[in-house]
């Protein structure tokens, strides 16, 4: 049991280190913020791209986009964040809204607005992860996030229509 508990914290720790590493790297002035975010996002993308092949291994082929999203919200989310997504909404036209009421990388922080500004960089990795997972499943999407109150994170997924 204690073994399992220790295992779980490892991802939190390495993720915090990744964020600190990407932000601490030397850079030139104002452009720092953007480039640093893209670095973490790219790491997330690569992780998502690789992990999805493994996590969909024992299932069946998805029948459509919504089915894929449901898988990501339940199985994939549970595998990484230890809980399913709390709310999935869609307009059936390629826009999805995923809401996590207690996001794993934020729920250890204070609930107030104290860290609201710096919370973004702890969610960027997950945006990349979503984008990578979807991309390997053949869905090209733009993923953005929104934090209004602390441990609640909303992910907006905008699927780009295939160009004919």
């Amino acid at each position: 049991m204690t073994q399992a508990l220790a295992d779980e914290i490892l991802l939190d720790l390495i993720h915090a280190e990744i964020v600190a590493y990407a932000n601490g790297s030397p850079s030139d002035g104002e452009e720092k913020k953007d480039t640093d975010y893209s670095k973490i996002e790219l790491m997330g993308f690569s992780c998502g791209y690789r992990i999805i092949e493994r996590s969909t291994k024992d299932g069946a082929r998805f029948k459509d986009e919504l089915d894929t999203m449901k898988f990501i919200c339940t199985e994939l989310w549970a595998a990484i964040y230890k809980k399913p997504i709390d709310n999935l909404r869609t307009n059936y036209q390629g826009t999805y809204l995923l809401q996590d009421n207690s996001f794993r990388f934020l729920n250890k922080m204070s609930n107030g607005s104290q860290y609201l500004e710096s919370a973004g960089k702890y969610v960027v990795f997950t945006c990349g992860l979503l984008r990578g997972a979807l991309s390997n499943l053949g869905i090209n999407a733009i993923v953005s996030m929104e934090i209004n109150t602390m441990p609640v994170v909303k992910f907006h997924i905008q699927v780009s229509q295939p160009q004919n």
């Binding site: 999805i52 069946a60 082929r61």
Partner: protein, 138 residues
């Protein structure tokens, strides 16, 4: 059991082909290439008429007098193909399924290797071993 194993990626580029007899490799390249059309056909025809989730395993794609080709498509549209001798009547469906599952999990291991860049040709001793064990029948 199998005489050839092939992995083809989403954009239909072959990433790995191994066969028992290296002299036959070119012939197998042709066969794998031809069966891609059959896979495409199966995917589009089942996708529309059927609302149920489909299995990865597609069964026999086609068989000729000498060879039988089995197909398997993962969620990421990676295609795995196994070619066997048609004369080998001992091979059961379940065994082929097990072979595919073995290859699929090996492939997902390869993908998790940080030194493997997705989209590259697969050059891995581990994967070679798995492919060989499938061909010998382990």
């Amino acid at each position: 059991m199998a005489v050839c194993v092939a992995i083809v990626n989403r954009s239909n580029a072959p990433k790995y082909i191994a066969c028992v007899n290296p002299d036959m490799e070119l012939e197998f390249h042709y066969k794998v290439h031809t069966s891609l059309d059959v896979i495409e056909e199966r995917l589009t025809s089942t996708g529309k008429s059927n609302t149920e989730r489909q299995e990865f395993y597609l069964g026999i794609l086609y068989s000729t007098e000498e060879h039988t080709i089995y197909g398997y498509v993962t969620n990421t549209r990676t295609k795995i193909m196994i070619i066997t001798d048609t004369s080998n009547k001992l091979l059961r469906d379940n065994e082929v399924r097990a072979m595919f599952r073995k290859l699929h999990s090996a492939y997902s291991h390869i993908l998790c290797n940080p030194f493997y860049v997705p989209g590259d040709d697969i050059k891995s001793k581990y994967f070679e071993q798995v492919a060989k064990s499938v061909m010998v029948g382990g």
